[in-house]
């Protein structure tokens, strides 16, 4: 009985060991290929979202200034300068 129990315990422990090794291998390979990329992708999307907000914000302001002066933002380089300064300011503060 004692010998049988000993054999059984050994088998279970081996199985647990194999399972643990297998899982860690799977995790190790998935860590290398999938997780870092997905994390990076999330960061990029967040950064792009912030920059995109700044683009919209700066554009809206420039269109209003140009419209008030009976112009289109492409009419004068001045508007491009206002846009770039607004965008840089927004990016510095919010992103």
């Amino acid at each position: 009985m004692g010998y049988k129990f000993y054999k059984m315990k050994k088998l279970i422990l081996s199985l647990v060991f194999l399972l643990a090794v297998g899982v860690s291998f799977i995790n190790a390979s998935s860590n290398d290929e999938v997780l870092p990329n997905s994390k990076e992708a999330i960061e990029v999307v967040e950064e792009f979202g912030c920059a995109s907000d700044c683009v919209s914000w700066a554009k809206e302001r420039v269109f209003e200034i140009a419209y008030d002066a009976n112009q289109h933002p492409n009419d004068e380089p001045l508007y491009m300068e206002i846009y770039m300064r607004d965008y840089s300011l927004c990016y510095k503060v919010k992103c």
Partner: protein, 235 residues
């Protein structure tokens, strides 16, 4: 003989008039103070730019000139570390740029020295504005001025009003606005205004202007094409 003598006397009196060389320094004040009033009176929806109009401060601007060249620049420097934003009036008055107008015998030429927009310093040759001369007059700092306007070719609406004085017979002006039959003493662009506050003609100290040299040159067409390629605004 009598006729010849008359012609000689005539030219004797006329020569000093034509060879009179005026040089000087004009100080202007640039302001956007009317912007808030304009927004309150004219706008029905909330303005996205009221904060920059509220933050705008008046700026002093200088135009130095002699018989061959003029140089225009603002006296304020931009504070790049200011997280509250820039001074809108400073940008409208030319910002960090400098403007040069050359008076050659045949025609005037105007250039902008811009070190911001394209990431490096460039001398951009500007086009002569298509002015519409008007009969309206007013006095600025004691000089009789005439009005000229610029219309937007897209919709023919007025985009700028300039006041020039033929008493200072150069086609110099403010920023890239030049080419009128007299020096420009004021411009109005919607709520933004630049007006001469001090006019010094032929001061004791000689006016010195250094021509910009060693910069890459761009025609206005080339410059506009570069901007258009990178423009976030669709026509």
């Amino acid at each position: 003989m009598k006729n010849t003598l008359f012609i000689l006397i005539f030219f004797f009196y006329l020569t000093p008039i034509f060879s009179q060389k005026i040089e000087g320094k004009i100080t202007y004040l640039a302001t956007s103070k009317n912007a808030i009033k304009y927004i309150k009176e004219k706008k029905t929806k909330k303005s996205a730019v009221i904060d920059i109009y509220k933050r705008a401060k008046d700026v002093e601007v200088v135009l130095k000139f002699n018989e061959t060249i003029s140089e225009y620049y603002t006296l304020e420097k931009i504070d790049l570390d200011n997280k509250n934003g820039y001074n809108f009036t400073h940008i409208m008055a030319g910002g960090e740029k400098k403007y040069y107008t050359y008076n050659s015998t045949m025609k005037y030429k105007n250039e902008t020295l811009d070190c911001y927009l394209l990431g490096d310093c460039f001398l951009i040759e500007n086009n002569l504005p298509k002015w519409n001369l008007k009969q309206d007059t007013k006095k600025i700092q004691g000089f009789l001025c005439y009005k000229a306007i610029l219309n937007n070719p897209r919709n023919n609406k007025i985009i700028l009003e300039a006041w020039y004085t033929p008493k200072i017979p150069y086609q110099y002006g403010v920023m890239n606005y030049y080419g009128l039959p007299g020096l420009i003493l004021e411009i109005n662009k919607n709520t933004f205004t630049i007006t001469a506050t001090k006019i010094e003609l032929n001061p004791l100290e000689k006016i010195k202007i250094e021509e910009p040299k060693g910069f890459k040159k761009l025609s206005y067409k080339e410059f506009k094409e570069i901007l258009k390629k990178n423009s976030p605004f669709k026509d």
